[in-house]
């Protein structure tokens, strides 16, 4: 049997939901940055060390990289098919009134997130994994100080805020869309998942947005 676009969509849904799960863990880890300075430094660096040394986390991180890449690659494959299917454009087009903005702009939102990820990986992930960082009192790599000094720059905080907004709108459509692709059709549970998706999106987006703002303006 030939592979259908619906099978591509299943990959999008599965990888997307895994990334949704990862965001929860990532946010919970980041919340440690909000502790009082000395405590935050000690705990955040200990936590980072714990993650980088654990074999289970290593496996999950490879699943994560694979999910990110395949989510982007399959998005491109699917978009290419859609562009071919919708090749001739309307002279006068008002189709957008019938659907939410985020649902039509997942590609643009995803691209913003991808650009953000490149910056994010370069400044934190790469620095932590492949360079020699100064150690803190407990002998762990001092990622905390890197984060705090990075968030001192206002433009950097702004880049982050815009990216998190894009992430929010991406999640708002993506979470529910994944449930539809996986075949959820019972009206009661469709509604429940929509409400859950809204709450999830709100918590994740506001949570991630709050951290750089708090560090820059209050800490």
């Amino acid at each position: 049997m030939k592979t259908t676009t619906l099978q591509y969509k299943l990959i999008m849904a599965a990888t997307g939901l895994f990334l949704c799960f990862f965001l929860v863990i990532h946010l919970l880890g980041n919340l440690q940055l909000l502790l009082p300075a000395a405590r935050a430094q000690e705990q955040f660096n200990w936590y980072s060390h714990l993650l980088s040394g654990n074999i289970l986390i290593k496996i999950i991180s490879w699943v994560l990289y694979l999910s990110l890449i395949s989510h982007a690659v399959y998005a491109l494959l699917i978009t290419r098919k859609s562009k071919k299917a919708n090749a001739s454009s309307y002279y006068y087009d008002k189709r957008k009134v019938s659907s939410p903005w985020s649902s039509r702009n997942m590609g643009i939102l995803g691209t913003i997130i991808l650009i953000f990820l490149v910056i994010h990986f370069k400044d934190f992930w790469y620095v932590y994994m492949f360079t020699d960082l100064p150690l803190d009192a407990a002998g762990n790599k001092d990622l905390y100080t890197i984060v705090i000094t990075t968030y001192d720059q206002l433009w950097y905080v702004l880049v982050y805020e815009v990216s998190f907004l894009a992430l929010g709108f991406h999640l708002l459509h993506g979470f529910f869309s994944a449930s539809r692709t996986l075949g959820l059709y019972h009206p009661k549970y469709v509604k429940a998942v929509k409400v859950f998706g809204w709450m999830y999106t709100l918590l994740i987006t506001l949570g991630f947005m709050a951290i750089p703002l708090y560090i820059h303006f209050i800490k």
């Binding site: 676009t5 859609s82 019938s98 539809r180 075949g183």
Partner: protein, 248 residues
């Protein structure tokens, strides 16, 4: 009232089309949209010009034959309405109205506002039926089905195949049409037996005909004259995933 029309004129699939301007006056607000076009065509005939071709049949909103992109929306500004059920009271004197055919790679333009929707037929041919040859139409009550079940199946079966879902979709996806055709059968005892083969084959055919993927914008439900629910797409995906897992 007097109206300015900008209408897509195209001689055949191979030729290049363009928007041509027309004016119609003395349009009554009680006219249907297609009657207004009839009036314009009358005047074109009198002037010896080629008439504007558009699809129509019952003009009662039940056959699914008519379908025009009016002011950038499938079947015009109203939701859940066919082009023939749109009336001129939805417009006002002096309005400019843009008329275009439903556009999708799977719906090649035949002429002017007419498109070829054979791709829909081929999706049905791929499995939208019961394969057992039973001769004449059987007695309706020989297989008892509860009222609720038959109504639920009919909610899907109400799809008239007009193509508005494809026309309004940014991906030109036929997911709403295909799912409606799959689901009205899967909800009835006769249709259940071949559910797995049907969904695999109809979804493959939808792809083969060059329709795009469904990205769940749900615009199709808004424009669908029969208000076919997007939950049909969820159920089609459910049936598809189940068939993928269980196929031998």
């Amino acid at each position: 009232m007097k109206l300015h029309l900008k209408i897509w004129r195209q001689l055949n699939a191979a030729s290049k089309g363009e928007m041509i301007e027309y004016e119609v006056s003395e349009v009554s607000e009680h006219m249907s949209f297609l009657e207004m076009l009839d009036m314009l065509n009358e005047s074109l005939i009198q002037r010896g010009e080629r008439v504007i071709e558009f699809d129509h049949d019952c003009r009662e909103g039940i056959c699914g034959q008519c379908g025009i992109m009016i002011n950038g929306r499938a079947h015009g500004p109203l939701t859940h309405t066919t082009t023939c059920q749109l009336h001129m009271r939805s417009f006002k004197d002096g309005d400019t109205i843009y008329l275009e055919p439903f556009r999708a790679s799977a719906f090649p333009i035949l002429r002017d506002l007419k498109v070829n929707r054979k791709s829909f037929d081929s999706i049905i041919e791929a499995g939208g039926y019961i394969s057992a040859a039973i001769g004449q139409t059987p007695e309706a009550n020989s297989i008892p089905v509860s009222y609720e079940a038959s109504e639920a199946a009919f909610d899907s079966a109400a799809c008239i195949g007009c193509g508005a879902c494809v026309a309004t979709c940014k991906n030109s996806s036929a997911a709403l049409f295909t799912s409606a055709k799959i689901n009205h059968l899967v909800q009835l005892p006769q249709g259940k037996l071949e559910a797995a083969d049907r969904v695999l084959s109809m979804v493959s055919q939808m792809d083969a005909m060059g329709f795009g993927n469904c990205s769940n914008t749900e615009a199709c439900e808004v424009e669908c004259p029969q208000d076919i629910s997007v939950l049909n797409i969820g159920r089609m995906n459910y049936e598809y995933n189940k068939a993928l897992l269980l196929r031998k």
